[in-house]
Amino acid sequence: MSMLIRDITFSTMNTLMKSSSLRSAFKLCRQNLGISTVADRVNSMQIVNRSTTVSPCSNFNETANSITQNLIKSYGIKNENILQKVVDLPILSNSDPSEWRKVMEIFTFRGSSAIVSVQTIVKYPALLKLSSSRINRAWDDWVDCFQETEIVREMIEKQPIFLSISSTADIRSRYEQLKHIVLSKKAVAQILITCPQIMFQSLTELHNVSDYLSEVMIVRNAAEYSKSTVLGCSLQEVMVRHEFLDKCGKYKPPNLKISESIPTGNATLSEIYDTTEEEFACKVAGVTLEEFVVFQSMFAKEWESRKTNSDETDSDDE
């Protein structure tokens, strides 16, 4: 066995030199050894037309693309709301049945139920236009990061837009940054579900926000991050609410010498960042909405001046 592996290693050496990626090396090894991944197996699967047994549905729009309807019904979905949504969205009703079948096959193979698979497609219809290899590659990238299939499946079912991310580096860098903040895989998945915009924001913004939360606001309880959408906010949004509370005297940075278990009396991150402006101003800060709006405008001006000042200092340094 060891000889065999050594042979394979030598034969794939040239390719490794070119790609210089560990992940591609593993893939090549698996191919040479005859161990196919889930993605490979799904990609190689032939799409088989199933016979559809359609049951009459009262409220279902008969004018919609009948093949698509029949196909969805063939998976045992009788929920009228879902069927109505499919009819309402032309991108779903007019798409090729083979595209539906392709995505459904992938999802069911990965362990999702048929109804969840359809719901996921309804959530993000652009999935139908992605190639099966791309979907599988993205899914495998997520699994590689998390080293868990269940968590990834749940996450993708809730945020199918993550399958459109093709860059492995993007996924890994954000995953690692989030893991560094919240320490557990489940919490990372929870954060990504609640604020998917993290995947599309710049990494420096995420760094800045996490630094601000840990160094200025001194948030010590990692569980608080996953319960709020704060990591999906921009630094300005985070700062404006924190500074407002700080100036109102409603947020005191906790003393690091005091145990975490002793309540600080500060509002939680969720209370600060997951509330409407009115709720935040009236309930959390104890002032009027007008005051918060005025403060926001003042802060925006200050932010602009800070930015210009930092730009000027940067140019001076150069």
Binding site: F244, C248, G249, G286, E291, F295, M298
Partner: protein, 524 residues
């Protein structure tokens, strides 16, 4: 092998020791520690403690306004190109406050329903008495904790506080029964007499001779401290808070002030509510004087409260800033306006600044004099129709933002604690100087009721006990109603308080109007 592991482990230890940086050298840690010690942070902590209990739910709103930039306005110079300046100010979106004031007065006169609103407003006067007690108790607790390092039982403190308050109440009752000055608890008695009536602890008396010493176990007993030495100059902070509580009531009349007339020549411009834009620095116009003066908008209220009439003699007794003199000058009403800078050596600067706004030729029509006397040295009693007194106070807005000349600095603690007494003295002097029928407007830049209402009450009491002079306190709540659209004015016990509020961020500024009653000499 063993030697190798030992060496490697010791090397590791050595490198770790080399890399170890003591916490006190850490820059961030140092900055944080220094930040806590800064005067403005100390001030903020004290204000949180005191005003938090006085203003309760409205304190966060005041706090954020105090920590934000103050709203400014401009007073247009009548001696420059007025029309051009007004056009320019309107073009940048500023409003003429005189026009708004007059419109508000019109609306008030038309609708009588405003009176109801006024009554509702006056019922919302913040509760001070109970809150002051809380602050006093807390202050006492902290002082006791400072003096006695051991944790003091809270029950003991409560008991002492209760006993003190009971004792105080009894004293007040006794005083009222026996008359003032009949009983003095600190009366000195000869030592021999006091020894006769003294209670001795016989267990602690040590008998002469070696047996007495041997037998006396009291030598080994713990002797608690009965008096602290070396704290002769120590002023407990609780006495400062007591200044409000222990004020005796002097007789005074209360009258509702009618809405004053906004001076015709006074043009003050400001941006609308919620707009925090600032004005550009003033330039010289065609007459070679400055176009406008940028001022803190809150000062408009006490100047309007003065209700200046043509040809009156006006005195700014403590000229602490240029805003009030500039506003009074631009009304063009006073016959004589004396600005006394109060031995601060600011006289020359004031004169130079005022001259850059006014021609030499018009000086005679609106006569103003700048003096540098100490307020107590002014001797023109009965000469002034109107006096405005802006006494030095804790300057809350400055205290929470600036470290320099901060009244909450540890080096100025004595001055801060003695402020109410100094303020009372200055106000008493102003009440002496004013003509019969003339009025005094007392101003402070603080939210503290100890420096505001308590000082007014003390000064009234002092005047009553000294010369049986009676004053009328003018209730300005109705008079200040037209200003509510651009200033948040809250009624206090004896005056009005311009409260910081972010959309109209002016103040804090307390002002009270006192009128010397007529025919005082005849009644005596």
């Amino acid at each position: 092998m063993l030697r190798h592991t030992f060496l490697s482990s010791s090397l590791k230890m050595y490198s770790r020791d080399l890399l170890y940086i003591p916490k006190r050298w850490n820059k961030k840690y140092k900055e944080k520690r220094l930040e806590k010690l800064r005067n403005h942070n100390k001030a903020l902590a004290q204000l949180d403690d005191f005003y938090g209990s006085v203003y309760k739910d409205s304190w966060p709103s005041i706090r954020i306004a105090l920590l934000s930039e103050e709203k400014k306005g401009v007073v247009v110079n009548n001696f420059s190109d007025k029309e051009r300046i007004q056009k320019y100010l309107m073009s940048i979106g500023a409003y003429n406050l005189r026009k708004i004031f007059n419109t508000e007065v019109k609306i008030m006169n038309e609708s009588g329903g405003k009176q109801k609103q006024h009554r509702e407003m006056s019922s919302n006067i913040y509760q001070i008495d109970g809150s002051i007690e809380e602050a006093l108790l807390r202050q006492k607790q902290s002082e006791m904790a400072d003096i006695y390092p051991e944790p003091v039982d809270s029950k003991i403190i409560e008991n002492t506080y209760q006993s003190l308050t009971e004792k105080h109440n009894e004293d007040v009752v006794d005083d009222s029964k026996e008359g003032s000055g009949s009983r003095d608890p600190t009366q000195d008695t000869p030592l021999a007499e006091s020894l006769k009536s003294a209670d001795y602890d016989t267990a602690r008396i040590i008998l002469p001779g070696p047996t007495g010493i041997a037998l006396s176990a009291s030598l080994y007993d713990f002797v608690p401290t009965s008096k602290l030495k070396g704290l002769d100059d120590f002023i407990p902070e609780s006495t400062h808070y007591k200044y409000y509580k222990d004020v005796p009531e002097a007789p005074y009349d209360l009258e509702i002030e009618e809405v004053p007339q906004f001076p015709d020549h006074l043009d003050v411009y400001a941006f609308e509510r919620g707009n925090c834009d600032t004005f550009e620095y003033s330039r010289r116009g065609s007459t070679e004087v400055f176009d406008y003066h940028i001022l803190r908008l809150g000062y408009l209220a006490p100047v309007l409260a003065l209700d200046l009439k043509n040809g009156e003699n006006v005195l700014d007794m403590t000229g602490s800033n240029l805003d009030i003199p500039m506003l009074i000058c631009q009304t063009l009403t006073p016959g004589l306006f004396v600005i006394n800078c109060g031995a601060t050596r600011r006289g020359k600067y004031f004169l130079r600044y005022l001259e850059s706004f006014i021609y030499d030729s018009v000086e005679e029509s609106c006569k103003f004099v700048v003096t540098d006397d100490h307020p107590f040295a002014i001797e023109d009693a009965g000469m002034y129709d109107k006096i405005i007194v802006t006494v030095p106070s804790t300057f809350d807005r400055k205290a929470v933002t600036d470290d320099e000349n901060n009244m909450f600095s540890p080096s100025l603690i004595k001055e801060r604690l003695k402020l109410p007494e100094a303020q009372t003295a200055v106000l008493s002097k102003a009440l002496e100087l004013v003509k019969e029928g003339g009025s005094v407007v007392y101003c402070t830049e603080t939210l503290s009721p100890i420096q505001n209402d308590a000082v007014v009450q003390r000064a009234l009491e002092a005047q009553w006990t000294k010369s049986n002079t009676k004053f009328t306190i003018r209730d300005l709540s109705r008079a200040m109603e037209p200003l509510q659209s651009f200033l948040k004015i809250v009624p206090a016990k004896y005056g009005q308080l311009v409260t910081p509020f972010l959309p109209n961020n002016c103040g804090p500024l307390y002002f009270s109007k006192l009128v010397k009653n007529l025919n005082q000499g005849n009644s005596e």
